[in-house]
Subunit: 168 residues, 2 copies
């Protein structure tokens, strides 16, 4: 362990010690009890379980910037589907998402304006048509030949109201 690591996380590690002392999830099975996988954004305002009435043990949760169906998500969904009890998946984007404002060049500019490096060799998967992108991402899962048994829906979560609307 490097000294700088030891000093970067004292608050959350102290909180974890308290969590472990009162731990009540020890008996959960590894399979998703409600047969559900959720693909959503990394956004700090989203509560994937609470917003769907779920509890720990119920669902596999996949999260990245923009709730995009990447190769990483497809890989994970195969494992969830065949080995971990998942038979339905929700792709849930959200309103007021930084990945749905403008286009790739806008985000490259924003990173540079924030003091970051030139990121133009990266692709951030920004979408100027969020609802259309959710439909395309859902179609990507549906048409992926490794996931034939999975029911998939596309949704938008409103961060101001907490309400989820089904798009496809």
């Amino acid at each position: 362990m490097q000294d700088d690591d030891a000093t970067s996380f004292p608050d959350v590690l102290a909180a974890n010690a308290a969590y472990a002392n009162g731990f009540g999830l020890g008996g959960l099975a590894p399979r998703a009890a409600r047969g559900l996988a959720i693909v959503t954004c990394m956004d700090s305002r989203i509560e994937p379980l609470a917003m769907l009435g779920l509890a720990p043990g119920d669902a596999k949760i996949l999260r990245n910037a923009g709730a995009r169906v990447t190769e990483d998500v497809l890989r994970s969904l195969v494992l969830a589907s065949y080995l971990l009890g998942v038979d339905r998946a929700m792709v849930i984007a959200h309103t007021n998402c930084r990945m749905a404002e403008g286009d790739e060049s806008d985000v490259h500019d924003a990173v540079r304006d924030a003091g970051g490096p030139d990121t133009r060799s990266l692709t951030f998967l920004v979408s100027g048509d969020q609802n259309g992108t959710v439909r395309e991402d859902v179609q990507r899962v549906r048409s992926w030949p490794y996931l034939t048994g999975l029911e998939v829906g596309g949704f938008l979560y409103d961060v101001d109201s907490g309400r989820i609307t089904q798009l496809c």
Copy 2:
């Protein structure tokens, strides 16, 4: 909307309507209030916020099969770091993880035994040395030139005790 989608998610959509009626997170800012990103597994037994004493609004949460630092995670961390207030990140694997049992061929065999397709053209990122893999993934973040300002630590979460141990 396709009819089959409308019938696959009635339970969770009904629960969301109740969640929205009692919604209390409407005022949250999009930046991570505690400056934290968490990279962890999709596993249904993990509560990323509760296990670290965090609340909605505090952290960006990235999840995939195995808590692996993929291109998707790196892309997301750049956005979190420069645009969303993140200056520290935790990579948190967990005990009893399907992605840390055996090797790639064992998982391909398990998918086939579960009635799935031949997945040998896919890479699941299975690790036979979980602690070593966490250290390598942390090093991958540290050495990525697009993320120079980010403090990163590697951790193991024990699903039986709720306790997190720092590895690096």
